[in-house]
Amino acid sequence: MAFLRYVMIRALQNMRGNLFPNLGTIGIITITALIFSSFSLIAFNLVSFLRIWEDKIEVIAYLKKGTPAAEVEDVLGRARTLEGVESVRYFSPSDAMAFMEAKLGGQKNLLEGIQAGVLPGSLEIQLKREYRNSTRVREVALRLKQIPQFEEIQSGLEWVETFSTLVSIFQVTCWILGALLLTAMIFIISNTLQLTISSRREEIEIMQIVGASPPYIRVPFYVEGMIQGLLGAGLAIGSLFLLQRMIILYLPSSIQVWLTRVPILFLPPEMIGGILGGGMVLGFFGSFIASMRLLKYSW
């Protein structure tokens, strides 16, 4: 307990003694961690958007033109019994026309003269939750294709898959960028700690002479690095939160309306914990490297 108290006091004294280099380091760590957490936040929101999108995946099976009403009932029954299907809703050609008119709104006069029979009837098939992924959707689509009354099966899967690939590429880019930034962070912390150690060289030498144990000399520097990392990461997360609030606040109202359907999330607690913990770990490594270089024993 006394040792922990000493270590904390000592680390804070060291930081106060080299205030400006420490503030500079914390500032640089904040900027570095802010860049990394911004990318993480974007990736997190894209993944969340992908999940929402995947959740809304449904299969639309278009019936062949002129399919008799009696057969439609049969097809509906067969579709409902397929594995993975939650519900099936029939859209007649006139329903489709009404939908089109609603979509076109003020420009619905474009449809004047077009017969309702031009549009095919379709089945809107909702899948069970566990089937709302690319593999299972494909399975259901294959089974639907075996029903001869269907002309075409659409699932919107291609879009989801393309978006998913883009998100994966973004995530990988994010991790590569993160690795580079975090490596830079280690060196920045290491350099500041070298400055602190150099400014206390005389004292450290005397500590060694009078029999201070290696942990007694080194641990305060490790803690100093960890505090720098923690403060930098904490400030980055705080800044990111404020930045996100401000961006949302100042977005044009048209985008804000759209955002009510696609919620913009902040980093979840486990990611915040990870970034803070990562800051501390990097701080430790930075100070460890510094102490390995400067706190060598000639013995």
């Binding site: 005397i206 060694q208 009078v210 029999g211 201070a212 000639s298």
Partner: protein
């Protein structure tokens, strides 16, 4: 207390600082390491307080073969000895009391113990009234007394002194030597490196002479100077 057997110290640039040194110091003994500048006195002391590893040979302190110890263990060896330097090696931004208390804080003593022991040792070196003064306010002689107090505050059985009077005038030297003599009477083993012949004559104890030039390594071990 101390045994050095066939100790060599050769630096990477092939300069030989010590060559085949064999000495034995008994508990409670006062001995001079005597020789001109560059004869290896400081190197010998640096090896004894585990600041440098000998190139060859054995160094046994209080029954422990220190050359076989890793750096993680040498702080324990260092706690059994006090070291005094010619240039004092005190923390100039701290007070007399803080400089002395530093040793006890480092070795994990309680605040109460530290305060009591520091006052006791300050009385002994004759500086109790200067305890709150910063180091820069003290004369060279007073600073050396603080350095001695720091070396002795944890009551080590062995004291190594590297030219402790080298920077002091005659009166200050006498004051400091008086402390060393008192210490010897109390039973502390003292190894005192000096090039000042008048000290050896005035305070006659065993003299271990090192060679005249760096690397000569000639020792006149066991030479006893009787005044």
């Amino acid at each position: 207390m101390i045994q050095m057997k066939h100790v060599f110290k050769i630096y990477p640039n092939q300069i030989s600082a010590l060559s085949d040194i064999t000495i034995e110091i008994s508990p409670g003994e006062f001995a001079y390491i005597f020789g001109p500048s560059g004869s290896g006195k400081t190197t010998l002391l640096r090896i004894l307080f585990c600041e440098e590893r000998p190139t060859r040979g054995e160094v046994i302190i209080n029954g422990i073969e220190v050359t076989r110890k890793g750096f993680n263990a040498i702080h324990q060896v260092r706690r059994t000895m006090g070291v005094v330097f010619q240039e004092f090696k005190l923390l100039r931004d701290r007070t007399v009391e803080e400089n002395i208390a530093f040793v006890l804080e480092v070795t994990g003593h309680s605040r109460r113990e530290v305060r009591a022991r520091v006052m006791e040792i300050l009385e002994w070196v004759g500086l109790p009234e200067r305890k709150d003064d910063p180091m820069y306010a003290l004369s060279a002689g007073e600073q050396q007394r603080v350095a001695i107090a720091r070396a002795l505050v944890n009551d080590p059985p062995l004291l190594l002194a590297d030219e402790p009077t080298g920077n002091l005038d005659v009166q200050m030297t006498m004051d400091v030597m008086k402390i060393f003599m008192d210490l010897h009477k109390r039973g502390t083993t003292v190894l005192f490196a000096t090039h000042q012949e008048h000290l050896v004559r005035r305070y006659p104890f065993r003299v271990i002479s090192l060679g005249e030039t760096t690397g000569s390594g000639k020792t006149k071990d066991e030479e006893v100077a009787e005044a």
